[in-house]
Symmetry: C2
Subunit: 339 residues, 2 copies
């Protein structure tokens, strides 16, 4: 029995103690000694994604490793949400910063890993996704998590970025820019427990994936859809490009952070402008971005905010409209080739 | 269009130019903008694995990044071989050492990534596995690849570590310890193109996965099976433990490197002893370790070397026998609790 073989069951126990499952419907062999073996349901397609979280890049040990693990799990599951899928399971590949090959149990390192896995368990539990396996690798420098997620959708019903057509509405779930505001607050030295920014810090450290919303949208039809993880400014052109359309955004309609939060993190700007910029640039929002006919979006029953409309135009281009367009225009001009 | 969005198609083109496919049977949506969408065949189970390769730990840039990419791909597919599966696809998560978030095209970095992806393409092509997606992540220090692989087996026929019973033979494909010998040679400053160690260096830098052998074994029945990636010393107790049995190994029968290679990399020992030690300790062998009835193993048609037998005993324990047992005994004594 190697150290790694002894450590893995303890990490899995930490995932379970946090509410995370390690088996599920259709799972024949779960985590531990073996790789995962699954029996897919008939009449479902599989969707498959991978997402990486690197300490110091996507999360910080100083903010708590449980928060890092939770965020990594939810971010990976958010990809499945954007596809309209129900989660089947996740594999977790961990880079563990030790000086030599092989992972040893004991000491601070095991406590840190258990804390990280507690967060992974919380995140997966919130998403209803079991952990089915993974890999432990020694890494000379840096803790990192690579999360591969597998989901299922009714045959032919996966939500894709393609399919938006001129006349469609463009809409999003929830609020945008909150995690960006939380990040700016913490990086500026703000206290994580300041009640004035609780919503923003919570969005950063404890995001949720819009799985129910994705499945409801898929059940209503096939709008173009994706999760917003890199911010609207980067993700909206991707959806437009995949659909071969252009998009007009009403910047005034963007559901950004409250003016009070915006003013705290960008004190040099009028609050409405600051909020619009945060919403537009965003990042790690994990909301759904959707484009489809108004009646389809309404029939889904998902709470959506309309932020624009699909138009004919050079594929992938975005035009900003509204009184606040100028406030975000400099940020957005990089790809706005047809304004 | 971000830099990352421009880079991904060029990396995929490098995979294709090396012979790697980016679509396959049952693949509805392949790599690029979207996550992978697959339609599983009826009457098949899915097997799912993840494996990590970190530069400086599992491969070295000095040995060529194509070799690193090839090795990472083959190692991940070797997991599928051990399960008796046919590959459905792979996802590749790349950590790219750049100082800031976001991946830019251009310069040495892109050339290095293209070289790496050429190797990934070669490795996947050799395994008949398409690349279906992935993720690019900036990493402050170190290049790494996390490869998630999905395979299919006839329902209920996945090969597992469990199932070995007293009376079964224990056998392996190919040779053991060659990659370890190649590593020792290169780390000792030996020339990679020295014809005397060609086989060993080749095993290290250009391994192959025993996919056909795994499928043939699964077709013949259900022997206990796994791929040997951590060396027989670590992997054999895992198979024995999962099966709830003990194993007796005939050290004299281990298919190690040739005496001439063994003498070159362990000049201080008698060649036969050095070869046995290399075979026993091994690592990155990517051969199949199998335990099953003699007639089942014979019926599979797979070229196997019998190295021992399954006996009743404390689960997971291994006893070494043979004239060379003493030569490897010190290496193996750590887990040999019932000798």
């Amino acid at each position: 029995v190697t150290d790694e073989d002894e450590l893995v069951p303890r990490l899995l126990a930490a995932v379970r103690a946090a509410g995370g499952a390690t088996t599920g419907q259709g799972v024949l062999v779960g985590p531990g000694d073996e790789k995962a073996v699954l029996r897919p349901a008939p009449d479902e397609d599989l969707v498959w994604t991978v997402d990486d979280h690197v300490e110091g890049v996507h999360f910080r040990a100083a903010w708590g490793l449980a928060a890092g693990g939770r965020k990594a799990a939810v971010a990976a599951l958010s990809d499945l949400a954007g596809l309209g899928a129900r989660p089947l399971g996740a594999l977790l590949a961990l880079h563990v910063p030790r000086g030599r090959r092989g992972v040893e149990a004991g000491g601070v390192d095991e406590a840190a890993l258990l804390e990280l896995c507690r967060g992974v368990g919380e995140g997966l539990a919130a998403c209803g996704c079991p952990l089915l396996g993974g890999n432990l690798t020694a890494h000379p420098e840096r803790l990192a998590l690579s999360t591969s997620a597998l989901g299922a959708v009714p045959r032919g019903r996966a939500l894709l970025r393609a399919g938006a057509r001129p006349g469609d509405l463009v809409a999003v779930t929830g609020a945008l820019g909150l995690a960006r505001a939380g990040l700016a607050w913490l990086e500026g030295g703000g206290a994580p427990d300041d009640p004035r920014v609780r919503e923003a810090v919570g969005a950063l450290l404890a995001p949720r994936a819009r799985l129910a919303e994705g499945r409801a949208l898929a059940a209503a039809g096939q709008p173009a859809c994706m999760d917003v993880s890199d911010g609207l400014r980067r993700d909206l052109p991707r959806l437009a490009r995949a659909s071969g359309v252009a998009v007009v955004v009403d910047v005034d309609a963007l559901p950004g952070p409250s003016p009070s939060i915006a003013a705290l993190v960008e004190p040099g700007r009028p609050p409405a402008e600051a909020a619009a910029r945060l919403a537009w640039l965003g990042g790690e929002d994990y909301e759904l971005l959707v484009a489809g006919p108004a009646d389809l979006l309404a029939a889904s029953g998902v709470a959506l905010r309309t932020i624009g409309r699909v138009v004919a135009g050079p594929p992938g281009t975005v035009r900003l409209e509204g009184a606040l367009a100028a406030a975000v225009g400099d940020a957005g001009s990089g790809f706005d080739h047809f304004a």
